[in-house]
Symmetry: C2
Subunit: 336 residues, 2 copies
């Protein structure tokens, strides 16, 4: 099957059914998030709310809740773990935006541009500590272990990315290692922690961890493809950001390897030295599409989505499992 | 007893005996620290070691170990908790130095000036997560709760300080609230976690928490006094730093309140607007000594040192308890 056919054969997928099935639980998670971001120091909830109220898909806490319910949990520990997961995620976003000097987050002005980098760093620390306080309340040492490890691996991934992000010779293996650490690990830990809170056996909690890991990789690969327009003709609103920042993502790395010495000077100027003209993004996009780098990235994302779905095979084929399968397809097919 | 007599009556105190009594345990803590700051990402141990190898007094982990042994612990869980406490402390120092733009830390160039603010923030996150991984290994949910809460309170204290640090009208009560959160809370949690790891009753773990809290307040008050020369004629090597940064510490706040409207313009210029001349620090120091603000700060520190010692009354009067009493005296009498 050629790349175009593969794209056509992909299931569109959707997150809607999962959102509907977990609506009551996620309302509880939202209440916990609002409740536990409070502090006697008023700037803390103000800054945290700026980011948290801006929404985002709440995908990671959703995974925790869905994994717990699929694994048969009948208690509400997964709600606290889900809120903790969202706090860890929010803390990393606050620190990331300081680290990268990002201007925008979730369509709003980045918090550090309003409250300053110092407050963003400290409120990130506050949310990270709050996450652990929430986990302690569930009395699950295993869940604490999983999320403490994930937090450490994310920090390692961020450091790796910071050092290699403009490296045009980054290998595909190292690129995958970085996105596994900085993105997929928290998806994996979110699902595994949910499974563990259900008291499920090691095989099933491992399966849900694997689901989360493959899903996270599929999401990040698709994200990186979307920055060059993904499989669509119309460009998303943030398309070109990675290119302008000179970020070495897979579509770019593959295009550089495939376009050969003829384009070496172009890549070196536009990405290596980041001397870009208006026309450069269009040229890069043509090369990324023309060399098949974009399709190869989406094919790899689709492979991970399939792997994610396969990991769910040992659970009963109920509506919740189907909605998680559909989420994996959605990861690759989404347009934003 | 007037202020001068109170100063003379103070016990000199020492940390040496405590260091000697805990030497074997602290060697174990140092091995754990070196071992657990490792990572496959080489910049992480390099940056962490820059700060950790620079020494510092290791007071907080020392408290954890001493509290555990005084409470009768015969296992080595306190070593892991002590290493976790030092990691939390190191993480806050890394983030603080970024937040304050500090040039020096422990007599060395601050890490963010060598590796950049981004790496300092991320390595702080790594150490914070590692601290929780270490705590999980001790299997003590109560210790995790104590140190998660302390981490959150420290972040709140840092945010408070950032907002009020140049406020010349800061009340003594609010100043004490800030140093309790940003400094004393970790001393309290360090001692309490050690006690808890010994499986001691609530009364005794509370007593060791109280000891740590009062000790931490005494240390910070004495630190703030030392910045204006403390009780000695000779100035320490960092004397004047707080003044030059315009930091509203207790000696300054008391001197401002006591020197009256005649000096209001001087304080407003030198601290409020931070327009300082070479002679200003000497003038400020004269006012701080002349108004009795320095002695009042040291008297308050001595009161907390006495409170710390009193908290130990329900433990056997052995050499370890005596060395902790001596540490409380040392907090106030030290010259650096």
């Amino acid at each position: 099957m050629d790349a175009a056919a593969a794209t056509l054969a992909r299931q569109p997928g959707s997150v809607d059914r999962l959102v509907r099935l977990t609506a009551a639980d996620m309302a509880g998670v939202d209440r916990l998030i609002t409740d536990r971001m409070q502090s006697d120091v008023p700037v803390i909830p103000a800054l945290a709310e700026h980011l948290i109220a801006a929404g985002g898909k709440r995908l990671r806490p959703l995974l925790t809740v869905a994994a717990a319910r699929l694994a048969g949990s009948e208690n509400d520990h997964c709600l606290k773990l889900a809120a903790a997961v969202e706090f860890i995620h929010t803390a990393t976003l606050l620190h990331d935006d300081v680290v990268d000097g990002s201007q925008l987050r979730r369509g709003k002005v980045a918090a550090h541009l309003i409250w300053g980098a110092a407050q963003s760093v400290l409120v990130g620390d506050f949310l990270f500590a709050r996450a652990f306080e929430l986990m302690v309340e569930t009395d699950s040492m295993r869940a604490l272990q999983i999320l403490a490890q994930a937090s450490r691996v994310i920090a390692e991934g961020e450091v790796m990315q910071l050092m290699r992000s403009h490296d045009l010779n980054l290998s595909q293996a190292l690129y995958l290692e970085i996105i596994q650490a900085k993105t997929a690990e928290l998806f994996a830990a979110a699902a595994e922690a949910g499974a563990v809170s259900a008291g499920v056996d090691a095989e099933r909690s491992k399966a849900l961890r694997d689901y989360g890991m493959s899903l996270g990789l599929a999401f990040q690969l698709a994200d990186d493809a979307l920055d060059y327009g993904g499989a669509t003709e119309t460009l998303g609103k943030n398309a070109g950001d990675d290119f302008r920042e000179g970020k070495a993502t897979l579509p770019l790395l593959l295009a550089i390897a495939r376009s050969g010495p003829r384009e070496a000077e172009f890549w070196e100027r536009a990405i290596g030295r980041r001397e870009q003209t208006e026309a450069d993004f269009r040229r890069a996009r043509e090369l990324i599409i023309g060399t098949g780098a974009l399709d190869a990235t989406l094919d790899l994302a689709a492979e991970y989505a399939d792997k994610a779905k396969a990991a769910l095979a040992l659970f009963p084929a109920n509506e919740l499992r189907e909605s998680l399968e559909s989420l994996a397809d959605f990861a690759v097919s989404r347009r934003a």
